[in-house]
Symmetry: C2
């Protein structure tokens, strides 16, 4: 793990890093309280398709968890996204955004699955690396990821015992393989469902909620399309993670 | 409106009252901040079937809204409940509890509809009466009612423009008439769904959420049976009402 830059603003230190995983350069950002020492809860944030590690909402959430609850938070660019996007990737994403969002077809789901398996390996390597830092340590880990962040999050959380709570959603059960992974998740999960989601059909998201093996799971559904999650849910996510992972301040 | 008794404890005044509506004596309780003056948000709390106006959860919620947010809150005994239960009513409720909860049949739903129409008239009279008190006034009104509190709440909220936000749920759309009433509700609503509800089938509750005309509505679903709503939802209800009705402290 190589540190590229570090800046501190209003008590929050933002550290850009890169890590080599399976021969690929994975760029990431780690947020920490200024001068942090010792273990603390860690929030992993996985962006959605066409987004990247430093979109406004991820930065805002990281800063809020760091400042109000003493968390560490980390985000990385998924394969084909952010700094890792080729010109071809960028063109594909431009077309996808311009054409209006829609549910992926079976072939796209298969291509996505291979990429997501790679993303899961990368997240495990990133988690290993940041937990070795004494200012992060072996505290409880949370996963926040909607849409593609759930396509990656379900296999990640299902296979990663260090994750103790997850916010998932805006993605649902579309394949038998995905359902089997979801059935292996036992930690507390909050599932977000957009009632008029044009990308993740409502029933597939309700099915995801239904099949999770978690004894404690909660579904928040709201009217609106894929990218219209209401702002008031931010407080619900914060309350959810603090309830399950605690605080470090 | 006749005041029967008044006690104050830890800053919360609890006033027992009775009101005559359509020749029936309706007993109720009004909670207020000690020494309250002027208008404030008012939370109407409608208990569920077999319960009464002063069950623990209603008292706890009233005290919390009064102390933390300066609200007034009111609860009354529904027809055939609490002080209004005849020996026959009590025997019927004992049998219902002993036999295990289950969904009501069509005949029971019809009998219930007549009783609920009466309850709606009573709530309107109670709202008229308490809003005439200067210490309650014409502030924004919220409705909290699950299960039977939704069977009564949907026709009440649909026909009562003073209600500005409602928590409903643990009851769903079972008749065409109820659906038409739900379709007339336009204020913000939070719908509670118990995923394994043996009284209000999950799909009927999702249908209730679906048909509400409210632009802002939010569904919270959790695993468990009818009476197993998780304790953490209390904070969500408080946040919901404060967001929509404001505070008076």
């Amino acid at each position: 793990m190589r540190i590229i830059s570090e800046t501190t603003e209003l008590g929050v230190t933002e550290r850009a890093f890169e890590l080599e995983v399976d021969g690929e350069r994975v760029p990431g950002i780690l947020w920490l309280p200024e001068g942090a020492e010792g273990a603390r809860p860690l929030l992993l944030q996985c962006h959605g398709g066409t987004q990247h590690k430093r979109i406004d909402t991820i930065v805002a959430r990281a800063r809020s968890f760091v400042r109000h609850h003493g968390y560490a938070s980390v985000a990385i660019d998924a394969p084909g996204h952010g700094e890792r996007a080729t010109e071809e990737d960028r063109e594909r994403m431009r077309r996808r955004i311009a054409g209006g969002l829609r549910a992926l077809g079976p072939e796209e789901l298969r291509a996505m699955a291979a990429r997501n398996a790679q993303a899961v390996r990368e997240w495990k390597a990133v988690l290993d690396a940041v937990q070795k830092l004494p200012e992060v340590g072996q505290g409880p880990v949370g996963w926040w990821g909607l849409s593609m962040g759930t396509a990656i999050g379900v296999p990640f959380v299902a296979s990663e015992p260090r994750v103790r709570a997850a916010v998932l959603g805006l993605a649902g059960v579309r394949t038998e393989e995905f359902e089997q992974l979801a059935r292996r998740i036992t930690v507390p999960v909050m599932v977000m469902c957009q009632w008029d989601d044009e990308v993740a059909p409502r029933d597939s998201v309700l099915k995801l909620f239904d099949v999770l093996a978690s004894k404690e799971k909660t579904l928040h559904a709201n009217p609106g399309r894929h990218v219209e999650v209401p702002a008031y849910e931010r407080a619900a996510w914060e309350e959810f993670f603090v309830r399950h992972l605690g605080r470090a301040v």
